[in-house]
């Protein structure tokens, strides 16, 4: 093709707008008069920050996105404020969205409140690609949009993960926690001599939405701590590790500094971009299936969703790989590939369910059940461990049992070979293992939540692997030296884990 023709075509078409929400890489991009109005009672913001926010929809801010994978902006759109403020905001967003679209960037309006009909009409007028609903009733908004002939996506940002888990939406957004590690002792909490630092993480949360094999985007919405070194990259990695995406959210000071072209702010922004790019460059990993010989039965209609979630969170914290089985899928076939099953908080199990679980244990599995199991519940100890056929059952006394205790007990109840993955020297890290090609390729990802690197992390995994390669956002891939370990396992040493690292183990063909 003639190069002039090719160039002309490029200009004519412009950057392709990513129409598929699965490809959206989102960032909160709040600003304008409505954002100032929304924050009117916030006395902590200084004048320069307010100026930055007020002028954020200057076209120049779109330049910040160059060189980053971010292609979806969440802009302030409706908050139920005075109509004149809302009108001005809509006009501003309309023009900004037009310019963003020219650059191939999708734009979603953030809705904090307001009249669904008016919002839908304004969104249509502004040409928005969707609405991210932080307040109000998403169903009414969606109905209003459709009534106006709009196909724009409505994305509720769920506060209640358990309720959102059953959603069939093609893109889910959920509020998460700020990823961090801290010493409980610093907060006056007395723990055992060897208790671990407390880690706030969203890795389990992203995983909890993967009840079906097919990948779909999960967005994690949370604000980082701007004063904590490395917080932004941890936010990116924490959501991405299990296949989610963090809705990038920059603090106001950083945004103001970026507009001033402050070198430190620009460096921080580049690092965020590097991590986002790393996640997208390895999009293939999202297709890997979660690994685990422990099955956790997730009752999406359970009586104590917070406690059910806490099992998922704390078991992940103890580096025990697991896979989820929805209660409605519970069957002998769905348990066949597991060696242990955690089902401590099953509400009113049916006879059929009991029979499946009993059969699992009788065939050699370990069943961890709540007091609903019946005979043999513990009296003085937290649980009683009883033989059952070729297997055993651990019956907890408490209903529901303490998630922290259950997670800790797993380390006693499961041999390392049953867990499959053993990770050493990761007190401030969480690991996530997944596989592809029928287990010939194993990916162990780790995220260090501390501000300082961890030296000498050792991994062991069931099976013989000849190739081990270590990937990080900061450096080119590095070959590790896998070596055989006892009981048919492979061991690799990671010399240093700064934040996000991934070891890809491969078996010979």
């Amino acid at each position: 093709m003639n190069c002039f023709v090719a160039l002309a075509l490029t200009f004519a078409v412009g950057p392709a707008l990513c129409a598929d929400p699965a490809g959206w890489i989102p960032a909160r991009w709040e600003g304008g008069p409505l954002e100032l109005s929304r924050r009117a009672n916030d006395k902590t913001e200084d004048a320069s920050v307010r100026t930055t926010i007020g002028r954020w929809y200057d076209p120049a801010t779109l330049d910040l996105l160059e060189g980053t994978p971010i292609n979806c902006l969440l802009v302030t759109f409706s908050a139920g404020a005075e109509s004149e403020v809302e009108r001005k905001q809509h006009q501003l967003v309309k023009e900004y969205a037009r310019l963003a679209h020219k650059r191939g960037i999708s734009v979603l309006g953030i809705v904090y409140g307001g009249d669904p009909q008016a919002i839908a009409a304004a969104a249509l007028d502004a040409g928005l690609d969707g609405l991210a609903v932080q307040g109000g009733v998403p169903e009414k908004l969606e109905a209003a949009l459709r009534a106006n002939g709009s196909t724009a996506l409505v994305i509720p940002i769920a506060r209640d993960a358990a309720a959102a888990r059953t959603s069939k939406a093609r893109l889910l957004a959920v509020e998460g926690v700020r990823p961090s590690a801290r010493n409980l002792a610093d907060e006056g909490i007395r723990a055992g001599a060897s208790d671990e630092p407390w880690i706030d993480s969203n890795i389990w949360l992203v995983r909890s939405f993967r009840l079906e094999a097919a990948w779909r985007p999960i967005w994690i919405d949370q604000r980082p701590n701007p004063t904590s070194e490395g917080d932004y990259v941890r936010c990116v990695a924490d959501a991405a590790l299990a296949g989610g995406r963090w809705i990038v959210a920059l603090d106001d000071e950083l945004r103001a500094s970026l507009l001033r072209k402050d070198p430190h702010a620009l460096a921080a922004w580049r690092t965020i971009g590097t991590y986002l790019k790393f996640a997208e460059d390895h999009g293939e990993w999202r297709g890997f299936a979660p690994y685990g010989n422990l099955g956790i039965i997730l009752d999406t209609a359970g009586e104590n969703p917070d406690i059910s979630d806490e099992y998922l969170n704390l078991v992940a914290r103890r580096q025990v790989p697991y896979r989820l089985v929805s209660r409605c899928d519970l069957s002998a076939a769905s348990l066949a590939s597991f060696r242990a099953v955690l089902v401590v908080d099953l509400a009113s199990p049916t006879e059929a369910e009991r029979s499946v679980l009993r059969g699992f244990a009788e065939n050699g599995g370990l069943l961890m059940a709540g007091p609903w199991w019946g005979d043999g519940a513990a009296k003085n100890e937290p649980y009683a461990e009883l033989p059952l056929g070729k297997g055993r059952v651990a019956i907890y006394k408490e209903d529901p049992p303490n998630p922290e205790g259950v997670a800790r007990d797993l380390l006693d109840l499961l041999e390392p070979e049953v867990m499959g993955l053993s990770v050493f020297n990761v007190p401030t890290a969480i690991s996530y293992a997944s596989t592809s090609d029928s287990g010939k390729r194993v990916l162990v990802q780790l995220l260090n939540y501390a501000g300082r690197p961890i030296e000498r992390v050792t991994l062991r995994f069931n099976g013989i692997f000849k190739v081990a390669r270590f990937y990080t956002p900061e450096s080119p891939p590095m070959d590790l030296a896998p070596r055989p370990a006892a009981n048919g396992r492979t061991e690799v040493l990671i010399p240093k884990l700064a934040a996000w690292g991934a070891v890809l183990l491969e078996q010979p063909n």
Binding site: N183, G192, A193, D195, P427
Partner: protein, 418 residues
Amino acid sequence: MEDNHRTFSRRDLLAVSGLSAGVLAARPAAADVAPPSSPLVSPVSVAKVTGYDVDLVAQLNKMFDQIGGIGQLVRGKTVAMKVNLTGSSGTGRHVGLSAGQTSWVHPNVVGALTAIFARMGAKRIRILESTFRKHYGSPLEDTLLNDGWDVQAIKSAAPVVEFEDTNGLGQAKQYSVLKVKSRPYIFPAFSVNHSYEDCDFFVSVGKMKNHEELGVTLSMKNLFGITPELLYGLLPKPPGASQWIRERVFHYGQVAPPAGVPQEIDPKSNRYEGWRMPRLLTDLCGARPIDLSILDGIETLIGGEGTGMPGTKHGKPGLLVVGRNCVCTDAVAMAAMGYNPRAGRHEAPFRLYKSPKDHPPEQLIPPEEWHQYADNTVLMGEGAGLGTADLSKIEISGARIKDVFYDYEAHWKGQAPV
């Protein structure tokens, strides 16, 4: 709440009297007291060390020379090092720090000692600790990996280096019974892993730390870890007993050791841990005499023995203390930590804050009293005839204490509302 520790109560008076009586009683009455393996008064070397990346082999060799040399004692022998790995899971950390920087002895210290003993001609070097695990059997090396130890490097530092988790039988078929050779306070003997008997030269490698219940933990306290949990925890937990197996038996005396294991001399004796533990530790040091004490205070934890204790802080005292006699060494170490090694109950560091949430109610004496006491372990050791805690009698070489001391108490003030 009344702050009783600032007053001198009748209870204190009785305690001091008892202590004095203990000291007097400890004068070897000969026949029933066998001499410890190290001299009763022995030199102690103190050094200021800036970090774990210095040449610790050269540093420790120099300190061994200062205490009179140990080559003759090590050559051709099996050397066992009981290393202090508090908690022993390797997961107890302060964020961003290794356990070796806080509650465990640092691997570089252990590696340097291994290399030194190898050069001195040790036949076999064994590294020992009892780890917390319900299912015993994982190698001790795995626990060490949990703090990023380069186990292979330590193994290659000497021709024969072995690791053993002494929380159970280990490689043996039965436990060794070690009789308390000093004047026993609570137990006449202990059943322990064979490794503590099958060695010619026994080294206690401790961390210079505070301790929640005992004020300080040094080379004598390190020996609590030689008691095998899998033996002493055989009996089921009675209602109301501590969740910690060894605490049931040793700290609080809530449960007697299982049948076939040496029992307490007087099961009706005081059950208060501040009274029991210093005596128990002394008994342990009498049962398995320490031939060499090494104290790692280069970096450490201030305010408690483990990272889970509220208010604990990471500190860099930059101290190494080495001696042949554990009482002398611990006494000098206490001085280097800014404490009076002859301090009594309710004096620093033996005035303690105990939250009623974490301790059985009967341990708060009198009831509701949170400011508790512990007896001074080194004075108990002195009382039992294991050595002297009198600094005026101990030859201290290397650095002068006044030049290197690190005020632990000043840091510990934040640990408790005292």
